[in-house]
């Protein structure tokens, strides 16, 4: 168990170093001169460009530049955003809560729906409900999420007018930002109307993104429950006349839900990709839309930082999922 954690932790820095190299090389391959961009584009004063270039050490050999870049990142300095004229860490700090609120909400809705679908399929294996649930899960995995976002937006916002189409708040409204999570901030402010408005703005993006965890979990929950439901202790429980619901949700669920924890590392990349696209459609001011803006504007400090942070989160989640699984399931501990 400890060996597993240590081994996985040892790989982590190597992986992150590899990612820094990848983003660094991509950044240097990209067309456009970073110094010129920072100085203000084509019409910038050549003298200013030259000064930026020396200041940033852009004339040093690439390995030196790379080493310096890694050194800065290790010290927590992610550089400056050319479009926002601010430190990348500050901007990301402001953008991150919006993305977390969105993905958190999606998990809150998507996980129970997915597990429910999977369990329903497993309990009615081979029957119409099983096929239906599998089809729904596969449809969820096959639908381009930006299209789903557009269709839902058209239906519930444009057509029915029930929900707002974009942003986190109505125009000309502000929240006293304490945590950056507007649901929490609105409650802290004690303003229930505002809280309702925040929830209504969250609804469409969250529901769209919830498709991702729901589809992934439905598929794996089905497999996991099928396996556990076939075991002897479940048959014994049935033979004792224990109600179906107790058998499934109390006895089987304990063992069937555990393997789903490892799914986190599979789910996360899909969730991140989904969030980028959903944020784009609904103009959600999170990290995803920030990344897209930065890509468009060739704001490479931002692109590199977001990439690096995503890679770090991704690697850590994988590690956490493995460790949690090993810690929670005594059977894996012995080996």
């Amino acid at each position: 168990m400890r060996a597993l954690v240590l081994r996985r932790l040892a790989v982590l820095p190597v992986l992150l170093l590899g990612t820094t190299l990848l983003v660094f090389v991509l950044g240097r391959l990209a067309p456009g001169d970073p110094a010129e961009l920072f100085a203000g584009g084509h019409q910038a004063d050549p003298e200013v460009i030259e000064r930026v270039r020396t200041e940033w050490g852009l004339e040093d050999p690439l390995p030196v530049q790379y080493a310096r870049y890694v050194g800065r990142v290790v010290r927590g300095d992610l550089g400056r955003s050319t479009t926002q004229q601010a430190d990348v860490t500050d901007v990301l700090g402001r953008r991150l809560p919006a993305s977390l609120e969105l993905t958190g909400g999606a998990l809150l809705i998507g996980v129970p729906v997915g597990v429910g679908l999977g369990v329903a399929a497993a309990r009615h294996r081979g029957r119409a409900l099983d096929d239906a649930s599998r089809l729904v899960a596969m449809a969820g995995a096959s639908a381009p999420i930006f299209w789903v976002a557009l269709v839902l937006g058209y239906l519930f916002s444009v057509r029915l007018g029930w929900l707002p189409l974009s942003g986190r708040l109505p125009p000309f409204t502000t929240v006293d930002e304490v945590t950056g999570f507007y649901t929490v901030d609105a409650l802290l402010q004690g303003d229930l109307d505002l809280f309702g408005s925040v929830l209504r703005h969250l609804a469409l993006p969250v529901i769209t993104l919830a498709i991702v965890p729901a589809a992934v979990l439905a598929r794996f929950a089905r497999a996991s429950f099928l396996e556990v439901l076939g075991e002897n202790y479940i048959r014994t429980a049935h033979a004792y006349g224990i109600p179906q619901r107790t058998v499934v949700w109390r006895l089987a669920a304990r063992n069937a839900v555990l393997p789903l924890i490892t799914l986190l590392s599979l789910l996360l990349p899909a969730l991140i990709v989904g969030a980028v696209l959903v944020e784009n459609v609904f103009s959600w001011p999170g990290v995803g839309s920030f990344l897209l803006e930065a890509l468009q504007a060739r704001d490479y400090a931002v692109v590199q930082s977001v990439t690096l942070i995503v890679a770090a989160i991704y690697a850590l989640t994988g590690l956490a999922a493995d460790v949690a699984y090993a810690a929670l399931d005594p059977r894996t501990r012995r080996s």
């Binding site: 992986l15 590899g18 599998r134 299209w147 557009l150 990349p269």
Partner: protein
């Protein structure tokens, strides 16, 4: 490698084992397995069994059918519906469906039906090429890593880990933004994140195949490692590769569309499903059909590809 027992007919054993695709022969087929001329007939019978299993479930049958229809539609369609996808009918911009434009026109007066057909050509052919390339490269990496093992394996797999460190669309976005939008760059951007998954999958199969008795027999009889790798190990991975390719087709199609939607895929004015959605999203209020059509096309094709992949997996692996 240990020396073979003297009385073992190694040549015969190795030759016999090589052409067997997977070792899942039913009892009925077994007796003929030793006869060399039974080879083609046996594989024929197996192919038919696979086909039969492919259509056993209505769901998977529907998947195969829809995929076939889409492929035929985008290949033959543009010859039947010959309207130029880039021609602008300035008198009928954002027009409703009519006899002249069955799906209406977009904001520039271009025929939506024609653009859906041509866009499908672009999306599907990019996805197919990308799948072929990534399966070949990733498969070769997995084959070599799993067969050679040792340091080569470690180096190759750590390289794959770095590519896996980022979610696929994100890596594709970075590559595409760096190289600039074009058809070729879209293929590269989509291939790069697909390689590691293919490599891992093939490697895991190779790891189990290389321990099988017929590989041992081939080694014992002095067959060169290169030949064993290709004739014996690779031949037994082809089923997995086929399943892998069809499953990743749906996945890759979504990435291609995603890139197009974000403006980093096929550059305008060429039609591509994802890019069409991005053009149309501005007009969703006035022209919902324009948005619905290419999105539905992506959705149905990806769904059909996924169903086909699942069906193929079930058909090729009767145990599942």
């Amino acid at each position: 490698m240990t020396t073979p027992p003297a009385d073992l007919p190694t040549e015969a054993t190795a030759a016999l084992a090589a052409p067997l695709p997977e070792a899942e022969l039913s009892a009925a087929e077994l007796p003929t397995a030793g006869l060399p001329e039974a080879g083609p007939r046996r594989s024929h019978g197996r192919g038919r069994a696979v086909l039969r299993r492919l259509f056993r479930s209505k769901l998977s049958g529907a998947g195969v059918l829809v995929l076939a229809v889409v492929v035929v539609a985008v290949t033959v369609g543009p010859f039947v519906w010959t309207v130029d996808p880039n021609e602008q009918d300035l008198l009928a911009r954002s027009a409703n469906p009519s006899a002249e434009h069955p799906l209406g026109t977009d904001s520039l007066g271009r025929d939506v039906l024609s653009r859906v057909l041509h866009g499908g050509r672009a999306s599907l052919s990019i996805a197919l090429v990308a799948v072929a390339v990534s399966t070949t490269i990733g498969g070769s990496i997995g084959l070599v890593a799993g067969f050679v093992r040792g340091v080569t394996d470690s180096i190759l797999m750590r390289l794959m880990d770095v590519l896996l460190a980022l979610p696929s669309l994100l890596l594709a976005l970075l590559v595409s933004a760096t190289l600039g939008p074009s058809v070729r760059n879209t293929v590269i951007a989509v291939v790069l994140p697909s390689i590691p998954a293919d490599a891992r999958m093939v490697r895991s199969v190779v790891l189990s195949v290389r321990e099988r008795d017929f590989v041992l027999a081939a080694r014992a009889s002095g067959v060169r490692p290169w030949r064993i790798m290709v004739r014996h190990v690779l031949a037994n991975c082809l089923g997995t590769v086929l399943v892998m390719a069809s499953v990743s087709l749906g996945f890759v199609l979504l990435i291609v569309a995603g890139l197009g939607f974000l403006g980093l895929g096929v550059p305008p004015p060429d039609a591509e499903w994802g890019a069409m959605l991005s053009d149309a999203s501005t007009y969703i209020v006035s022209r919902p059909v324009v948005v619905l059509a290419p999105g539905l096309a992506i959705f149905l094709t990806a769904l059909a590809a996924n169903l086909t992949g699942d069906a193929l997996r079930d058909a090729l692996d009767p145990r599942a």
